[in-house]
């Protein structure tokens, strides 16, 4: 009975490429299916029960590692990845094979050789290896794209708010102040006003305290947009904003915010 295999990759050209190379390097191998994503791969595996599964690590929906977890020890897994660096160590420790795209024919021949030897034995336990791979993948997501990771924003960056019929993403830098009543919070930003359903108490925890300070039980102001603080008698003050007519009251208990200025 010939050995059966499944290929999962979201890029059709690469699926075909691997399939045609396998046909040459391992003529007896019977390719039973080609999946376009992790979910499909798992479904096809359950249906066709192939002995070998080639899994692209990066796939939409369910990625290769998640798919491998679901397949478990029921098949021999070969991971296929375009990005060697992050995972090589994890791969080398494990009893699982991997191919780096674009792959070389000789490397594929090695893989075929190894798979033939291993098929006689049960597939290895992959749990710890998969944990390690998943961690490496997460780490890569954090370091490989500096534009996104450069100091992973600790504070809220965008506030999602309905403005008329559209849902808008308001950059918090442009937010001038937030004022809440019982049910809603008014977001006043450079482009207008919007209402959101979150309380001041929640928001103040998520906003960068270097910029956003609470000046009243129901008001948070962005210091970058403060033009002037006018002290009035009776231990209170008003905050004037750049480019806005409103005066925001600073209540007595929050006056210390401006004491040192």
């Amino acid at each position: 009975m010939p050995t059966t295999a499944l290929i999962a990759d979201d890029e059709p050209l690469l699926r075909e490429h691997l399939a045609s190379h396998l046909a040459r390097a391992w003529p007896e191998l019977q390719l039973v299916g080609q999946a376009r994503n992790g979910r499909e791969a798992v479904a096809m595996f359950e249906e066709l029960q192939p002995q070998v599964v080639f899994l692209d690590v990066h796939m939409p929906g369910l990625n290769g590692i998640e798919a491998a977890r679901s397949i478990g020890r029921r098949a021999h897994i070969v991971f296929v990845t375009a990005y060697e660096q992050y995972a090589v160590q994890a791969f080398e420790q494990g009893a699982v094979d991997y191919l780096v795209k674009p792959f070389q024919e000789a490397r594929l021949a090695d893989t075929v050789q190894r798979l033939r030897e291993r098929l006689a034995r049960p597939a290895p336990e992959m749990g710890p290896l998969l944990d390690e791979l998943a961690a490496a993948l997460r780490e890569r997501a954090g370091t490989a794209a500096p534009a996104h990771a450069a100091a992973a924003p600790r504070w809220l960056q965008w506030i999602k708010a309905s403005v008329g019929p559209t849902l808008r993403l308001i950059p918090v830098d442009e937010v001038q102040y937030l004022r809440s009543d019982e049910k809603y919070t008014l977001v006043a930003w450079q482009g207008g006003d919007a209402l959101i359903r979150r309380s001041i108490r929640e928001l103040v925890e998520e906003l960068d305290p270097d910029c956003f300070v609470q000046i009243h039980r129901s008001v948070i102001v962005n210091l970058r947009h403060v033009q002037q603080v006018v002290r009035s008698g009776n231990d209170t003050a008003d905050v004037l904003l750049k480019g806005r007519p409103e005066r925001l009251p600073v209540s007595r208990s929050y006056l210390h915010v401006f004491r040192q200025m």
């Binding site: 996104h148 309905s162 950059p171 830098d173 002037q228 008698g233």
Partner: protein, 387 residues
């Protein structure tokens, strides 16, 4: 408590007078004492009483004037009538305080007997000398102090603006660097090369054109190989190259169209501004979706002569791109690509100030729509149509 790059609010009246009070304890008191001594020494020959008495009078007057000046400065502005600025009040305080304080000195001296004072021509002359000198010197010093205060405020403001500009510049430089580093991502490069290899090995006629597209894209995206005067046409070429490479990689999941008014191709354009949005759309909108979607890029002239650019995708949207699902109207956690977008905004801000805008909205039923609005060429410095 302010971070270094935050513009502190303008000095409040209270804060301003606190600064003056700081001066009161140090320099200004010393200066007033010194002047009082000098004036006393100069006036001494005119006076009958001994030097210490004259000195006492001038010192007392100097201190009263100083206090009057600062006290007037401490009054909150909104208590004053609208027509009276604070500096005028401070000068008036001096004008009033000089004769009144001198009168006090002499009343004390005459035991409260006003008539006795006027009978003595020597005393009247002394009064006039002390009050007059105090008035003149007091006014001169007050004006000086006021000018210094205004100067300090202006310097403060100028420093603030310089700081803000520096911050923006730094942010723009950071953003550019981050862009350069992230541009040719190994993951993208090797996956694309794997596809090219597949085309070559299968003898596909598409291999040549695809390789050429990759070369074009790399030439444009490589650090150091940027054209000095990038135009919207260049940027659109980059965008098309990127999208056709991604289409080769995911033909069943990515559809795209780029529509641009050909007349706009010659406009100068910040490099990578549009490409960043397009890459975001593919990477965070289309790629995580099993069904994929469409990316539409639109460049049009605005009625005011400015530029309107739209990148819309029908992908998973911000919620799908790695952040927790949120209810309607709730603030979402930082979405994937949030910092990339923040960088782009910083660059636009540095180049055009408030005249440029980047807005994000979520179209129905899902996806993300990013719009860049640039001001007309004449309104933005350094960005003019090429001849």
């Amino acid at each position: 408590m302010l971070p270094p790059d935050t513009a502190p609010p303008m000095p409040t009246p209270a804060a301003g007078s606190a600064g003056l009070l700081g001066g009161l304890t140090g320099r200004s008191v010393a200066m007033a004492v010194a002047l009082a001594v000098v004036v006393a020494a100069l006036l001494n020959p005119l006076f009958m009483p001994p030097f210490p008495v004259v000195l006492g009078r001038t010192l007392f007057l100097a201190m009263v004037l100083l206090l009057a000046f600062h006290a007037a400065g401490r009054l909150p502005v909104h208590r004053l009538p609208g027509w009276m600025p604070r500096w005028l009040l401070q000068l008036l305080a001096i004008v009033l305080a000089a004769p009144l304080a001198t009168a006090c000195i002499y009343l004390l001296y005459a035991g409260g007997n006003v008539l006795a004072l006027f009978d003595n021509p020597g005393v009247v002359a002394g009064f006039s000398w002390i009050a007059g000198t105090g008035l003149v010197l007091g006014l001169v010093l007050a004006l000086g102090a006021l000018f210094r205060e205004r100067d300090a405020q202006a310097r403060n403001l100028a420093l603030q603006f310089a700081l803000e500009r520096e911050t923006l510049k730094r942010q723009a430089a950071d953003a550019r660097l981050a862009l350069l580093q992230s541009q040719v991502e190994p993951h993208f490069l090797f996956n694309t090369l794997a596809n090219v290899q597949a085309l070559v090995e299968s003898g596909s006629p598409r291999a040549g054109p695809v390789l050429q597209t990759l070369t074009e894209y790399l030439r444009a995206a490589m650090p150091g190989l940027r054209d000095a005067q990038p135009t919207l046409g260049d940027e659109l070429a980059r965008v098309r190259a990127y999208l056709s490479l991604m289409e080769m990689r995911m033909p069943d999941r990515l559809r795209w169209q780029v529509q641009a008014d050909p007349a706009l191709a010659g406009l100068r354009f910040p490099p990578m501004a549009l490409l960043t949005l397009v890459e975001n759309a593919v990477r965070h909108g289309i790629d995580p979706s099993e069904e994929g979607g469409e990316v539409q890029v639109l460049a049009t002239a605005r009625p005011d002569g400015g530029l309107q650019l739209t990148v819309q995708d029908s992908g998973v949207g911000m919620d799908g791109a790695g952040s927790a699902p949120t209810v309607d109207g709730a603030a979402s956690s930082p979405p994937a690509g949030g910092t990339g977008l923040a960088n782009l905004r910083a660059r636009l801000q540095a180049m055009y100030g408030d005249a440029a805008r980047l807005t994000l909205t979520e179209p129905h039923p899902h996806g993300l729509r990013a719009e860049i609005r640039l001001p007309p060429p004449d309104a933005r410095s350094g960005v003019t149509p090429l001849p």
